[in-house]
């Protein structure tokens, strides 16, 4: 357990070294809210503009959490390039501790990064029910760990930085666009029944719904009233990718190294 925490600590320390990247992500969030959010909310009927703006801010928080959790996969390529991978594999840490620690590290650091963003979002939206918010944030932790696990799984499966970059772009396009991050489920349903089914079982939808529920914006939730399904969905998502991550990590890397 201690060694797992050391792995988490290492990922946190590494992340904090990339100060420019953290600042850039912060600017990205500010631009999304201040430009896109404000302008896009003027496209809906005037009486719903403020509500959509709040809805959108909550969505951007989850999108930011998703994209910063994915970042751990890019770290793996950076480490492979510098040979750090072999070093990590030579340490007195089991492969399971290593991959679980990295998933958690990826999730925790995303949360640390998203923490101030959540605070800004809650300032704009307001905080209706602290207990709900706490439950929602706990579930978002699992979401962040799951996305990190997914990113690690894809990275070690592909072993190519370019292919990873392209695939993550595609995954991002599918998983975020086919969710309720930026638009309510009723609009997805109107566009296509198939889209609606996919978006209902999408971890990004689960995370977005939970955050909105936690923040008290319940009007456009996919699952009403208590998003138990979303919590269960995120738990399954977390365990699936952690388990797959451990298995693939062991098979692909220990079998013949990164190269």
């Amino acid at each position: 357990m201690r060694k797992l925490l050391f792995v988490v600590e290492r990922d946190l320390r590494t992340f904090l070294q990339f100060k420019v990247l953290i600042i850039m992500r912060g600017i990205w969030f500010a631009a999304q809210v201040a430009f896109f959010g404000l302008i896009a909310s003027r496209m809906v009927v005037p009486e719903l503009a403020d509500i959509y703006f709040e809805y959108y801010i909550a969505g951007v928080v989850v999108m930011t959490l998703y994209s910063s959790s994915v970042f751990i996969g890019y770290d793996l390529f950076e480490e492979a390039e510098h040979g750090v991978f072999e070093y990590l594999l030579s340490l007195p840490i089991s492969r399971k501790e290593l991959v679980v620690g990295r998933s958690i590290g990826g999730g925790v650091r995303s949360f640390i990064f998203v923490g101030p963003i959540i605070a800004i979002a809650l300032y704009v939206i307001g905080l209706a029910n602290p207990v709900n918010l706490l439950i929602a944030l706990s579930a978002l932790f699992l979401f962040a760990f799951g996305v990190s696990g997914m990113s690690i799984t894809i990275a070690v499966s592909l072993k190519s930085g370019d292919r990873f970059d392209i695939l993550m772009g595609v995954v991002n396009a599918l998983i975020v666009r086919l969710s309720t991050t930026m638009y309510p489920q009723s609009f997805v349903q109107r566009a296509s029944g198939t889209y609606a089914i996919i978006s209902q079982f999408n971890p990004v939808t689960f995370a977005s719904d939970l955050f909105r529920w936690g923040a008290g914006i319940e009007r456009y939730l996919t699952m009403n009233p208590m998003p138990l399904a979303a919590i269960v969905g995120l738990v399954i998502f977390f365990f699936t990718f952690t388990l797959i991550g451990v298995t693939i990590y062991e098979r692909r890397l220990e079998g013949g190294g990164w190269q």
Partner: protein
């Protein structure tokens, strides 16, 4: 007592057999030099023994644990100094070593003490907070070596420890490796520097094209070259045929060449044992000696003897991975 035993250890990378049915036994507490040109299979052997990569076939028992069946147990006993420093560019030496010591189970106090001590020993204390991307190749290598020195593992794999390091630094690191051994570690030193292997190793295994050609103490390896030792003798006067015959009769003498009437070159074995007897032959026959110069074979000569190539030629011919 054997602490590492490789049994038909083999690693293939597609068509390339990087390590080919390696059989090897390393005793506890020795410095074992794994010598060979780049591409000989040394690093692949180290990576398999340290469980970083799995063998294609065969296995190895390291510290009583099979590398295939109990890799986590093996990793608890080992430490590696990699050939290329494995450090992320955004880190600094202090963080890298402090974290390494933490993972290796050192207590907070002991960790801080050892990290400071070793950083000072490898002349990196002043650069402990400098980002890795600002360090020279030699400095990065010192940090890499420092990992093992801090950890003091039961079994240390040290891959080309003094590559890119200046002469003074080399001697310092060699001394530290010896101290590590004296404190109880078994050391596997992979190197293509023959002088380094000769100076440090209790035994040397010469690898070429993934195979272990020969393995013994440096002295035995050198003695295994027929006529490997050379002495050049300058005499006050010409030696007669009877003297030359008497010299040729020593079984240690492999060849005797007259460079000049009063100058001889003798190829022989076990020079340190036979020279007093050669001197005695000249004195007994009334042929005073003006000078005598002895040279022993080096591990370069051993490598040439067993491969037919110099280490540089072998490197040029080695298949690239």
């Amino acid at each position: 007592m054997s602490i590492i035993q490789a049994i038909d250890l083999t690693k293939r990378f597609e068509d390339l057999v990087a390590v080919d049915h390696l059989n090897l036994s390393i005793d506890s507490g020795e410095i074992f030099g794994l010598l060979g040109p780049n591409g000989a299979g040394k690093t692949t052997t180290v990576l398999m023994l340290s469980t970083v990569i799995k063998p294609t076939s065969g296995t190895a028992v390291v510290g009583g644990h099979d590398v295939r069946k109990s890799p986590t147990d093996v990793r608890k006993l080992i430490g590696i100094c990699f050939q290329e420093p494995k450090i992320l560019w955004v880190s600094n030496p202090w963080d890298v070593l402090n974290w390494h010591a933490k993972v290796c189970g050192l207590s907070t106090q002991e960790r801080k003490r050892r990290v400071k001590q070793v950083l000072e020993d490898v002349n990196m204390w002043d650069y402990r907070r400098k980002k890795v991307h600002g360090l020279s190749g030699g400095m990065k290598k010192r940090v890499e070596v420092a990992k093992v020195l801090i950890q003091r593992p039961k079994i240390a794999f040290i891959d080309e420890p003094t590559a890119q390091i200046d002469v003074v630094g080399k001697h310092k690191i060699w001394n530290m490796i010896r101290e590590l051994r004296d404190e109880g570690s078994t050391i596997i030193l992979a190197t293509n520097e023959l002088y380094e292997a000769d100076r440090l190793s209790d035994r040397v295994g010469i690898m070429h094209k993934g195979k272990m050609l020969v393995c013994d103490t440096p002295k035995t390896l050198k003695d295994s070259i027929p006529g490997g030792d050379i002495i050049e003798i300058e005499l006050e006067k010409e030696a007669g045929q009877s003297v030359l015959k008497e010299l040729n009769d020593f079984e240690e003498v492999a060849d005797l060449v007259s460079l000049k009437p009063n100058k001889l070159k003798v190829h022989l074995n076990r020079v340190e044992e036979i020279v007093p007897q050669i001197i005695e032959v000249f004195l007994r026959n009334g042929v005073p000696m003006r000078s005598i110069r002895m040279s022993e074979p080096s591990l370069d000569d051993v490598f040439v003897h067993y491969t037919g190539l110099t280490i540089e030629e072998a490197e040029q011919k080695s298949p690239s991975r």
